[in-house]
């Protein structure tokens, strides 16, 4: 998970929380608890979205275990290989020469030579000063039919402006070539799972002769290049902002923030902005009415049941919480590891106006002590991290807003909340089914 704040943020959070007597110290830096429900796509699964690519991790063997097993769980292990380095390779500087030999051996060993080789290095590389530009150039000279790009699986930089999630998005889209041709397509970037085509966005844009493109639409690297001809990038996650900026500079593609939200006003503002940028008329009012009705119906059905929300389920937990609170839902618990800049307003609103809402740092060491007896079945949980902590069986099975967007996303979230409130599930099986990678 990305942290958008450094020390300044910790101080900010402490100040905010102390004044309101809510778990202030929990956002301070502590040793981290890694719950069994912690994880997501990991860099391997996201990188595997790039068609006709292969990943070669160059690292001590241990660094690759979670990615390899996570890759196997998700059916992509055949596109991930490893070059293990040991202490003598690091000390002797033989590391770079080993890569040349390994790439040759890899290309004759795998069934099909990739169009792109993603050379992943781990935290260690940040301390070694490897000349990746020269390395990739030399590799490209030898294998002119393959593009080589260095990627970083370096959580050691999670507190910087360039954590692995952000650099990976940039690496993927930096492979797009500039084209003089511009077509009436719009890219969706930053989301791993494509938005459901049931979302009104597809129909609205189709009515104005725009088509949407997503990384998962392509099975070949050359087809993927068509994203470089698009008119606009809709940036669905903050992790893709940097990639969008690079694409604007290199390819001239403008971008618009479109982070998934369940706040009706924010959705409306997004459609108004989109309408202005594309100079088209977007009629969203009917969808807005349907979404609001879905919220009111869900509130009626769910009643006063306490609700918990976690940061792995949705990108903007405070914004979702604020929306639900405004409509009278009993949001009682929010679990997150940070408050992102884009959520400061929602966070302040909740802290100032809803003092009964508890805010827990999901990775604080105290979270290792589950409140099984205290919390058992008390909450309707949005996300399995809060479900694990509270031992809940009423769980909305959602991670990272997958597939949701716009008014459709609101309606779908309400449907899932109602369904979760009516049924009970086996959390362990749900987590296993999510095939999480750290």
């Amino acid at each position: 998970m990305l942290s958008y704040f450094g020390t300044e943020n910790d101080e900010y959070l402490q100040r905010r929380c102390r004044s309101l007597n809510c778990c202030c110290e929990k956002f301070d830096r502590t040793i981290h608890y890694v719950s069994p429900s912690h994880g997501g796509w990991g860099v391997v699964r996201i990188a595997a979205l790039l068609p006709e690519s292969h990943q070669l991790f160059v690292s001590p063997f241990a660094c690759g275990r979670h990615g390899a097993l996570g890759g196997a769980l998700n059916g992509i292990k055949d596109r991930i290989s490893y070059l293990y380095i040991d202490e003598s390779d690091i000390v002797s500087g033989n590391y770079e020469n080993l890569i040349f030999e390994a790439v040759d051996e890899l290309f004759v060993s795998i069934p099909k030579k990739p169009k792109v080789l993603l050379l992943f290095v781990s935290c260690l590389d940040d301390l070694l000063g490897t000349d990746h530009v020269s390395l990739n150039r030399r590799l490209a000279e030898k294998h002119s039919d393959v593009k080589f790009i260095t990627c970083h699986m370096n959580p050691i930089k999670l507190d910087t402006d360039f954590p692995p999630g952000i650099t990976l998005q940039n690496n993927i889209y930096s492979l797009l070539e500039k084209s003089e041709e511009e077509i009436d397509t719009i890219n969706l970037i930053g989301n791993n799972v494509p938005i459901s085509e049931k979302c009104e966005l597809f129909e609205m844009l189709r009515n104005s002769n725009f088509a949407l493109k997503h990384l998962t639409d392509f099975s070949t690297f050359s087809e993927f290049q068509s994203m470089g001809k698009s008119k606009l990038n809709l940036v669905l996650s903050p992790v893709a902002n940097y990639a969008a900026q690079t694409m604007e500079k290199k390819l001239g593609i403008k971008s618009l923030s479109a982070y998934c939200t369940y706040d009706l006003e924010e959705i409306e503002a997004f459609y108004e902005n989109l309408s202005l940028i594309l100079r088209i008329e977007i009629k969203y009012q009917d969808y807005a009415r349907i979404a609001e009705e879905a919220i009111r119906n869900a509130r009626k059905e769910i009643g006063e049941k306490p609700i918990a929300i976690d940061y792995q389920a949705v990108k903007k937990p405070f914004t979702l919480a604020r929306m639900l609170l405004k409509y009278g839902f009993n949001v009682s618990l929010i679990m997150t590891d940070t408050v992102k800049n884009l959520e400061r307003e929602a966070y302040d609103d909740i802290v100032n106006n809803y003092p009964k809402v508890e805010i827990f740092n999901a990775i604080h060491y105290n979270m290792s002590i589950r409140k099984e007896k205290e919390f058992a079945d008390r909450y309707l949980c949005i996300g399995f991290d809060c479900a694990y902590f509270t031992s809940s069986r009423k769980i909305v099975n959602i991670a990272d807003d997958e597939g949701l967007f716009g008014y459709y996303g609101v309606v779908e979230m309400m449907r899932m909340m109602v369904e979760a409130n009516r049924s009970e599930v086996d959390l362990q099986k749900m987590i296993e089914g999510a095939k999480l990678i750290i």
Binding site: R29, T30, I31, H32, Y33, V34, P36, H38, G39, S59, P60, F61, A62, C63, G64, R65, H66, A68, L69, G70, A72, L73, K77, D78, S81, Y82, L83, Y84, D86, E87, I90, A102, E105, L106, S109, I110, S122, C123, L124, L127, L128, M153, N154, P155, I156, K157, L158, D159, T160, I363, Y365, N366, S368, I369, R370, Q428, I431, L436, I437, I438
Partner: protein
Amino acid sequence: MSKLCISLPPFAPDYSGAASALFEMGGLVVIHDASGCTGNYTGFDEPRWFGSNSLVFCSGLRHMDSILGNDDKFVRMIVEAAEEFQPKFIAILGSPVPMVIGTDFKGIAMEIEAETGIPTMGIATNGLNYYGAGIGSATIELLKMFVKEKKPTVSNSINIVGMTPLDFHVNYNKEDFVELFENAGISVRSCYSMGSNLESIQNSTESALNVVVSQAGIGIAEYLKKKFDIPYVAITPLGDGELALNRVKAAFSDQENTYVPRVENADTLIVGEQIIGNSLREYLQEKCHYGAIEVATLFDVSEQWQSRGDIAVKDETHLRQILNGGKYRTVIGDPMIKQLIRDKKVNFYEFSHVALSGKLHWNENKRLLSNETQEWLEKIN
């Protein structure tokens, strides 16, 4: 394992082994890493993690901290948590980045111990060694810290050593092993790495014999032999358990009972962990009248337990060469090994191992003392 690895996953590393060995001991364990190393352990190498309240944490090491050598922050965070939990001990484990920056784990441990008054150990695991090395070093540190003197020996008593979830999962193998010996009138004082606590480890010096059931236990048994003069045998109970019981009884009566396997012209290969592999071979040959078998060890190897023809696998390329050299018509190993075999006529028998395939196959781990496993062994041809 070294160099290019195309198909197999990296195996469980030393810090997973160390954390696993200390899991049930009531300590506070901190892996000094950014997040991925702890994620390896909690996500893929620790079958007991779900629902557990064990105190295993990640230090959340960051770039500037490693460049500046900001160990004070690390110490402060651990002291803060330790003051709240009041654990029986604290263990700090290393990972690749601390290895490169030369983190002084012993020094940090001394500082934490001075501040908290809680016994603290620093173990410089580095992600370049296998899980067995971590299990060995963590357990020996624990013994050095808490077991100073030998208690009077209780006859007919044993410790089971090397009973690790990374080798045996948590599917009743530990309970079955203990029951096998207890039912035969042999008292099990302690079961190292699973089903123990600090008290039982402290009582383990009462035992007359250590029964090492996996290679991860060899170093521990050697330490106990040297320090407390407790001898050991190395065998994993399988099938009806008779061979393991006979080995232990022979050791109690000082009889020679070492097994010399048939390896001449072997066309069967067991790929996996050394002591379990040796025990599978012995069972197949002694109880199922099987012919010559060789054992190829993927993880750490103890030379004294290798037979002629046995192989210490260097890397995946080496393993491919072994498996595809045309020598073996039958292979027993983790399901992930099968993909390396080109000849589809080779008989492959699945025997999953947590330190290789982790959660992918750990639910398929065999219950070794069971009719089902006995039947499985009898069908191998």
